[in-house]
Amino acid sequence: MTAVLQVRNLRKQFGGIVAVDQVSFDVMEGEILGIIGPNGSGKSTLFNCILGQMQPTAGDVVIDGRRVNGLRPCDLSGLGVSRTFQLLQVFPDLTVRESLILAGQEHRGSMISRLFGDREAGLGAAAERMIQFFRLSHLAGEKAGGLSYGQQKLLDTAMAFMAGPRLVLLDEPAGGVNLTMLAKLKERLKALNEETRATFVVIEHNMDFVMSLCTRVLVLANGRVLAEGNPASIRANPQVIEAYLGS
């Protein structure tokens, strides 16, 4: 198995505050890595550094063997890297179907072909499949702004998969989602992982969700890696219990 994502001695400093400190880890192809840690442990900053939303103070991010420090998020998207955000990020005035087509269109053809070619950039059928996969068929023509929170979460996740990414970083996918929707989301993510062999990195506070979805878990505390291992070993790790899970 090859490493899709390699993070090497990553450090991010805001003035005197070190949010991420010498973090290193690898994520193998097809793996679902969970990242957990208390609030303020540096999880989202780590994501933002990996994804080009922030420039790391030091260290390297390597995707498929290529150092990607300094690349913009849209360039990373072109390399097959996709993400969801901690706070919902949909396009309120676009319909579900339009949102999904938008999510894939920039990966098709050139600027000119996008202007003069198919209005749906050849993604009509793919959008339809994604709508069915996430069971949003009854909402395909609805504007994203009019959907419930859980439905928007599903759409947000579906958008992240429209371009057929190799690596998907999901920032708190379970946050604010009710139990029924959560089970649906987990089942869909597992199915996608099996179907596409895409690699996932998941930040999440919901322990049951992480432990049942992820194949490996990394624990952050105060910007550093506290522990790393399979879900069972993390549950049993006394340091993790003390720092995060409680006794």
């Binding site: 939303q53 087509i101 938008l102 202007l115 070619g117 958008m159």
Partner: protein, 335 residues
């Protein structure tokens, strides 16, 4: 439900087209000039609607592009450059300048961007006023001829009106094409959520510059028609006043709604004329009407229509759901 709506839209479109073609035949020259002004201002507002309404980039510089387009035609005409070559050049020049003006938009947004574009308007005004050797300064450029097309002269008011109406139709079709393409979707994404758009591979930098450049180019094309329409241009016509008027057209018509600029231009160009019966109070009456409209309908006239249609659609849908539910319960009771 969709078919009757489409038929109604088709009838409305035909009615508007028939009015635009036939109504000027009954008008005097002044009325035709007002209609021509509406076509030119609609075009300039159409460009601003692309930049502001669809891509979400506020610009107070649209008047400058109308001015650059107008001066391009006025300056090239005495050199013997054919109208359509000057017209195209005005569009290309404004596209390039608009692209460059887009760069500040990559760094600042909202009211900061408004101030950047306002500064640009001032710079263009000063250049037009001070560079007398080129622009004629405050004396402007007079005797701008109206074009002829394949031997047919658009010199008279009615002929020139149809000429501008034809060009407006072509430009409108072009903008419609752009907005229905993936570019249009990317513009909307840029307006609604640039961070998410960027993470999905939308090059927000390129689309921001494109939105500025395309909107400015359309403003330049409108200016290229403005010069032969009034046949005399001077710098004061292309200052902040016109930029604010164009902004008003976009907002009153419905920002981000395709036909919004046409309705907005109707308010801004025609309404003061319709209110002339109030004599000295006509501008005051116009200002009060605009205030009432913006206060009660911030999404613009077509935004209000859209809201009413959405309300009617959702009410019809809930009635359908209710009748289905009562049908099901009566069937269950029968079983």
């Amino acid at each position: 439900m969709i078919a009757p709506m489409r038929i109604a839209k088709g009838i409305l479109a035909l009615g508007v087209a028939a009015y635009l073609i036939l109504a000027p035949l009954q008008m005097k020259d002044f009325g035709i000039l007002v209609m021509t002004q509406w076509t030119v201002m609609s075009m300039a507002a159409l460009g601003l609607n692309l930049t502001l309404g669809y891509a979400g980039q506020i610009s107070l510089a649209q008047a400058s592009f109308v001015g650059i387009g107008a001066y391009t035609v006025a300056l090239l005409q005495p050199l013997g450059v054919p109208f359509f070559a000057a017209f195209g050049l005005a569009g290309v020049l404004c596209f390039i300048i608009g692209w460059l003006l887009g760069y500040p938009a990559l760094r600042v947004q909202h009211h900061y961007l408004a101030f950047v574009t306002l500064a640009f308007t001032t710079v263009v005004f000063l250049v037009l006023r001070n560079e007398e050797w080129l622009t004629g300064g405050v004396y402007g450029i007079a005797n701008i001829a109206r074009p002829s097309v394949l031997g047919w002269s658009a010199g008279k008011a009615l002929g020139f009106y149809y000429f501008t109406l034809g060009i407006l139709a072509v430009v409108t079709a072009g903008v419609w094409w752009i907005l229905r393409s993936p570019w249009g979707r990317a513009f909307k994404a840029l307006r609604e959520n640039p961070v998410r758009a960027l993470s999905l591979g939308v090059d927000t930098r390129r689309y921001t510059l494109l939105a500025f450049a395309l909107g400015s180019a359309i403003g330049g094309l409108a200016g290229a028609l403005y010069a032969p329409m009034v046949q005399f241009i001077e710098p004061a016509s292309f200052g902040l006043n016109l930029s604010l008027k164009l902004l008003l057209m976009v907002i009153v018509g419905g920002s981000g709604i395709f036909f919004g600029p046409f309705v907005g231009a109707l308010f801004a160009v025609m309404m003061p004329e319709w209110l002339r019966f109030t004599e000295a109070y006509y501008l005051m009456a116009y200002a009060v009407l605009v205030m009432i409209l913006i206060a009660f309908c911030p999404t613009g006239t077509l935004g209000l229509v859209d809201r009413i249609m959405t309300f009617l659609r959702s009410r019809a849908a809930s009635e359908r759901r209710k009748s289905q539910a009562s049908l099901m319960s009566s069937e269950e009771a029968a079983q």
